[in-house]
């Protein structure tokens, strides 16, 4: 399976390379290093969010509220900045992450303690979090002129030729890689999703593990909230509306099994990059936004079909054994 997974990720790298090559053939400037760096930077937030979603999906749950969480945390970050322009940026970032974590904990607690299906919980909190933004602002926007320069320039700041936003996503990828491969919690995500019944017997608390997965996705959504609002220099009720679907799509394309237990950090990153390349490249080669949506959709279904085939083969073998008993 490990070999197969690696193959799946290699496959995705191949697909991205082919895609980039096709675009380069129609529009050579796309592959200029500076442009590729810009595409990566543009995909950074999606990468960060996909990492959180991955942890949740691995445990056989889903987080539909990530984009709403992002919008609410981002709005609060913007309001903090507007109210106290002198507040240092790290304090704002930490506040956004803390708020995101709390929103994630609410999801996690509902899934854990009340045993409500994750899709229902996060569908509910999605609307609640969006509604809260409206209650906080009465539907008013916070515009660029209300934000301090430091607030807006932080993600764009240049560090060794690359924007801080890109660096942050690289740091998050590295941190998540460490969590997933080198901590008992990361191992527990896989165990809970792979076989929750067996995980119980090994002393893993399935509910608590899921709770932590939601905390993680919430924290990353909070971070993304600040990044989104500062990057686009605007905050309102509907920012990132519908973005939860892009996040899930990135995970699915990245080979993270929606049935839980299978997936990897490189997969999530590659899935997000694939979507990022499509979104950035198709306009420059004159493909209409509607065709873009259709293409994204086809890619998702193809990815699911490929993954489902790989998993079904496994199932058949088990069935044969069970029959022999």
């Amino acid at each position: 399976m490990a070999k197969l997974l690696k193959n799946r990720e290699l496959l995705l790298v191949g697909a991205i390379l082919v895609l980039v090559a096709l675009i380069a053939w129609r529009f050579p400037p796309f592959v200029a290093p500076a442009n590729l760096a810009r595409v990566y930077n543009d995909t950074s937030i999606l990468i960060i969010l996909a990492l959180g979603q991955m942890a949740v999906i691995l445990t056989r749950c889903i987080d539909l509220s990530m984009a709403a969480n992002l919008a609410l945390s981002g709005m609060v970050a913007a309001m903090l900045n507007a109210a106290f322009p002198g507040l240092p940026i790290p304090v704002i970032i930490i506040s956004a992450m803390a708020l995101g974590a709390i929103l994630g904990m609410i999801n996690g607690a509902l899934v854990w303690k009340l045993d409500i299906p994750p899709i229902v919980v996060t569908l509910g909190t999605l609307t609640i979090y969006r509604g809260l933004i409206f209650l906080l602002t009465n539907g008013k926007w916070i515009n660029a002129h209300q934000m301090s320069d430091a607030f807006k320039s932080f993600p764009r700041a240049d560090l060794a030729g690359i924007p801080v936003l890109s660096w942050l996503s690289v740091v998050m990828v590295a941190a998540m890689f460490l969590v997933m491969s080198r901590t008992p919690l990361g191992r527990a995500f896989f165990a809970v999703g792979g076989n929750p019944h067996a995980a119980v017997y090994t002393g893993i608390d399935v509910g608590r593990t899921r709770f932590f997965a939601y905390c993680l996705s919430g924290t990353l959504a909070g971070l993304s909230g600040y990044l989104w609002v500062s990057r686009y220099a605007v905050a309102y009720v509907d920012i990132a509306a519908g973005f939860e679907l892009d996040i899930i799509a990135a995970c699915v394309i990245g080979g993270i099994s929606i049935a839980g237990g299978i997936g990897s950090v490189p997969g999530a990153v590659l899935g997000a990059l694939f979507l990022g390349v499509i979104k950035n490249a198709l306009p420059v080669i004159n493909i209409s936004p509607f065709a873009q949506m259709a293409i994204s959709g086809m890619v998702i279904i193809t990815a699911v079909a490929v993954n489902a085939r790989a998993e079904r083969r496994k199932g058949r073998v088990i069935l044969k054994k069970a029959e022999a008993v």
């Binding site: 896989f190 792979g194 076989n195 002393g203 608390d205 054994k321 029959e323 008993v325």
Partner: protein, 507 residues
């Protein structure tokens, strides 16, 4: 005698002759014959794994036999699908009824053949009226429009019977129908069987309980290891004869049981009870001992073991480990204090498919292999290698997914996982169920070695040879209570079966 003349004069409703069925590596049935007569109840008895379930699946068209013939009303036929068996009038009522909880009683009865009105839509009025009539024939008078989920198991059986009547079944198979019933419900079921008999149905009654077999069956058929070893009239047979036919074979010599000096008590369980699953469980487990837990399926053994390791909570009772009172609230606490449980269902509760072998092995031991909160893969590999090699695991690499291993090797991974936690007490629930003979022997040899090293083993098993071959002492459970305690030197298959089935010592 009277019945003998009636059945011999009658033609069988269904007759199986020379039926064989093999699965890869297992011969489930060989050259089995069985005839069921109208208006007569035939009891099918045999140990777990004797081939009863396979026979039921052949009768209901789920499996196709490799050889032999099926005759229905003197016409040779084949049941290619479950539907063709149903059309031929064979219907089965299972322990856990296979009906639909969210549908109404009437819908359940007529599912697939509901009466239609002239527009081709379901005729609800007729559906409910017909359902009521069928229920009355089955001896039930409740509203056919209520949802099935609101009924108890006994009433669900009645619905299943009404369904059988709706398709005009001639042969009714009842697979341990009383396993989940209360005392009163069982008596209602007996009355129903009598009514079906009077209606001229041929009934195959599968049961482990001798009292009910002798109460309602007219004929018996005994299976052992996939062959038919005896049949006849219940009136002509004694309980002891049936038991002998069921277990009659030499056991013991092939089991690698070592003589171990049994030490001081390690685990003491007293007064353990649960509101619905078991009560009054008291025993002592000693160092180096293998304590067998025998009983029929559903006797409460696994349920008790699960409460012992904190999956469920007992309503009363105390555990002492090495003399100290212990309260276990979760499996993690059980593992920490040195009690581990290797569950029965390997697929559902054992190996985690998708994780590599070494990660499966180290999952409950991560606190030992990691340093300051971070996993140390080198330590994990070392631990996994140590225990998988002791169990003689056949795998190309410890990095490979457990899903790619055979059932026997998966079981070894699961056992290695638990041994790696360095337990004091290990509970093995059906440790060799469904694995090949080679892997079985390895598991048994290893169990013996563990006991010799001073580990205390509880082995839950429904296989008599395994219980007799491996245990120092046996506790027999029946209906949630301890029904017998046997030392190794007084173990006989007859005693085990008697205690488990609740037969008194009289005969």
């Amino acid at each position: 005698m009277l019945q003998d003349t009636t059945t011999s004069r009658m033609k069988p409703a269904i007759a199986l002759e020379g039926i064989s069925k093999s699965f890869p590596g297992v011969k489930a049935l060989s050259d089995v014959s069985l005839s069921l007569y109208p208006g007569s109840v035939t009891a099918l008895v045999g140990e777990n794994g004797a081939g009863k379930s396979t026979l039921v699946k052949i009768l209901t068209g789920i499996y196709q036999p490799d050889g032999g013939s099926i005759r229905v009303a003197d016409m040779e036929t084949t049941f290619a699908t479950a539907l063709s068996a149903a059309r031929a009038g064979v219907t089965a009522i299972h322990q856990e009824t296979v009906l639909f909880d969210e549908l109404s009683v009437a819908e359940n009865i007529f599912l697939g053949h509901a009466p239609r009105n002239r527009f081709g839509l379901i005729d609800w009025k007729k559906l409910n009226a017909d359902a009521r009539a069928l229920l009355l024939r089955a001896g039930a008078d409740f509203d056919p429009t209520i949802r099935l989920r609101d009924l108890g198991i006994a009433k669900k059986h009645l619905v299943a019977i009404a369904r059988a009547l709706s398709v005009d079944a001639r042969v009714v198979i009842m697979d341990e129908p009383t396993a989940a019933l209360s005392h009163k419900e069982i008596h209602e079921l007996y009355a129903l069987v009598e009514r079906l008999k009077a209606d001229g149905k041929a009934i195959l009654f599968i049961s482990h309980k001798f009292d009910e077999i002798f109460r309602i069956a007219d004929r018996y058929t005994v299976f052992r290891d996939g062959t038919m070893v005896g049949e006849g009239l219940i009136a002509d047979v004694a309980q002891d004869d049936l038991v002998r036919m069921m277990v009659g074979r030499a056991v013991g010599s092939v089991y690698p049981k070592k003589d171990v000096a049994i030490g001081a008590p390690v685990l003491t369980v007293s007064g353990y009870r649960h509101p619905t699953e078991f009560e009054d469980i008291n025993f002592e487990l000693r160092r180096g001992e293998i304590l067998g837990f025998y009983g029929l399926v559903g006797a409460g053994r696994s349920e008790f073991m699960q409460s012992l390791i904190g999956i469920t909570r007992p309503s009363a009772g105390a555990i002492r480990l090495d003399g100290e009172i212990l309260v276990i609230r979760s499996p993690a606490e059980a593992i920490r204090s040195g009690i581990v449980y290797v569950p029965e269902e390997r697929g559902r509760q054992g190996a985690i498919i998708g994780l590599p072998i070494f990660q499966n092995v180290t999952l409950p031991s991560l606190s030992r292999t990691s340093r300051s909160g971070f996993l140390k893969l080198a330590n994990e590999f070392a631990l996994a290698r140590e225990y998988t090699s002791r169990l003689d695991l056949r795998a190309a690499s410890l990095d490979q997914d457990v899903g790619t291993l055979s059932g026997g090797n998966q079981q070894k991974v699961v056992i290695a996982k638990w041994l790696a936690t360095k337990p004091k007490v290990i509970i093995l629930d059906e440790p060799t169920k469904g694995i090949d003979i080679g892997s079985k022997a390895a598991v048994h040899a290893f169990m013996s070695e563990l006991a010799a090293e001073g580990l205390s083993v509880i082995m839950v098993s429904s296989e008599i040879p395994e219980i007799m071959g491996m245990s120092d002492r046996v506790i027999v459970m029946r209906e949630g209570r301890i029904a017998g305690r046997l030392e190794r030197d007084e173990l006989t298959a007859e005693k085990l079966v008697r205690a488990a089935a609740g037969i008194t010592e009289a005969a």
